[in-house]
Symmetry: none
Subunit: 204 residues, 4 copies
């Protein structure tokens, strides 16, 4: 029975993998459910045993993956001490998605923004947790005196996420050179760490 459940989970996973691949290539609205099915090696109808409808595939996909990403992010950040190290790690993880999971990154960067209904209703929770994790790092840095106090952690988090997303976007549209992306990441880390650094409290 465990085996059977695994079997089902494995099929669900195969469908998600195929969906990522096809969504990345064609975009959500230009993707046919039958193509996901064909790519996954299942019948059209089988999709509907695992997902409510086509929208649900995108939503499940996003929530599933962002969840794993958030978990991984928290795990890695917990192992680091300095706020600037944590910022660097955030940068490398978010940009690293593009290397290891190019299709997934493309789906998240591009396809997820189909409509704000989509974003608001379904993607918001996972996305907010992502931003919260980053904001927590900023806040921690503020409390430790590393980062200046006059910047809202949330604003900093959105900006950092956005800056990396902007880089991802131009990278996806452009050269797709991995080294170039890594260097860009270092520069962004630098901008934010310096930009957030608490002024030298001279005296006392």
């Amino acid at each position: 029975m465990v085996q059977e459940r695994n079997k089902g989970a494995e099929k669900r996973e195969r469908i998600l993998q195929s969906a990522i691949k096809v969504f990345a290539r064609k975009g959500f609205y230009n993707t046919r459910v039958s193509e996901i099915a064909r790519t996954a090696g299942v019948a059209d109808g089988t999709i509907y045993l695992y997902f409510k409808n086509k929208d649900d595939i995108l939503i499940s996909l996003f929530n599933d993956r962002i969840g794993k990403l958030n978990d991984e992010m928290e795990r890695q950040l917990a192992a680091l001490d300095s706020p600037s190290e944590k910022v660097k790690r955030i940068v490398s993880i978010q940009l690293g998605l593009l290397r290891g999971h190019k299709d997934l990154a493309e789906v998240i960067t591009i396809n997820l923004r189909q409509s704000n209904r989509f974003l608001k209703q379904y993607a918001a929770p996972g996305f907010n947790r992502y931003l919260d994790i980053i904001a927590a790092v900023i806040q921690e840095g503020q409390q430790s005196g590393d980062f200046r106090q006059d910047v809202s952690p949330r604003v900093a988090a959105c900006s950092l996420f956005g800056a990396l997303d902007g880089l991802s976007l131009t990278w996806v549209l452009g050269t797709r050179d991995a080294d170039r992306l890594a260097r860009a990441g270092q520069q962004v880390s630098h901008i934010f760490i310096e930009g957030l650094r608490a002024p030298e409290t001279t005296g006392t």
Copy 2:
């Protein structure tokens, strides 16, 4: 005859305005051409006297508006001297879009990313010019000694655009409080200006 030409242009403009409104509300793929027509007060067929097809509406809309935005941006930046003032102005113009042209901003932030084909093939030129304008400001700052040299102007430009786009995204999804957005803008300006500032070359 001038009047007649104006009439045609005015009708085209009305269609674009309506498209912005409806795209913003429903998203590109959930927008019916007939709804754009109804909103513009023209017949369905009339749309096709001014645009090749539905895609062409979105493309024309983006290129038309980004062109005007770029022009305005260049005009305003030319009137400023200090690089940091220019960065602040970039921030206020990009975020200002959300106030004055909420629907347009929503279309650009959300709807344009329908497929990377869309982005790559049609939106890239106008978008690149936008990034070039920002990059030029950064470079200028580097030459004047205000900004550090070890950051690629292009990377900085993408990051700044992205940071503001990230703010826009969360703002659109969230409270939509104008003051809050203005304050966030100031903080981002601060992060980037400080983050880009050339280190004090103390002494000689």
Copy 3:
């Protein structure tokens, strides 16, 4: 004023000529009224000053031309004496259409058969007069003793018309070699003249 009326008639004629050309190339249903207008060098709306609608163009065209053809046929046949000479002339006139008025012939052979409604309601009168002219020749030959009596003139007329139409069809679809068509015509004349010849009434 006569000039003006001529002007109008001339424009109507130009539209008909253009219609023949475009119908022949594209077929009735694949022809756009606007293309006829463009070919004729008039505005779309002008067409409707001379014809009730698109159907009316085809109907007018057919009736106008078949009328002229019938007139010409009668004129030429009247100048001949022997029934077999007349049959030969019918053959050469009908097939001659393909040489001198290729497009017109194509429209009549192919496009006119769009629907039997078309044929029954509008084309029938002119077509029937055409068949009547041929039938009259047969009957005349029967009365003169040249042709056998046991064939209905009408049936012979339909068959002769059809035989030539069949030749036209394969010719239009095939080589389009003019000489070959002329030789074929002679053979058809022969078949019909011999096939219709009254048996030698030997003796008495």
Copy 4:
């Protein structure tokens, strides 16, 4: 499984039957795909499981039926000896179509000539085989000395087909009296057999 395959074929056949009926009544261009579907008792979309598009229905229909007709023709002619008997059989089979398969005959006689593109590209092969079968009979008659040699078998075939098609056309447009058609057929047979008869080689 055989049953399942039959089921599919049976549905395809039902669609073709309905198409014949509706095409005959309304003409190809005035036929709605949805009406074919309704007549066949299937959903609109089902049509597209069996045919590429509307054109493909007409093409398939013609090729399917002309193929069967050609087969039947060859079978029956093989059982006959004398060339004139064979000519008579050709006549009765072609005209017989109008009795047994009135709608089909109407589609072939009238609707198929929508455009020469249609005819040339798709209908030509089946139509040519039909003409070849007739031409072979003529040639056989020439070799046996029954028919004169100075008529091209192909020309005779086109003419015979055309004569019968002409009869069909006027019959479809007119009285539709079956007996009258049968008598007309006998007369056409007569014309062609006599018209093709080899001259009496008197002497020796």
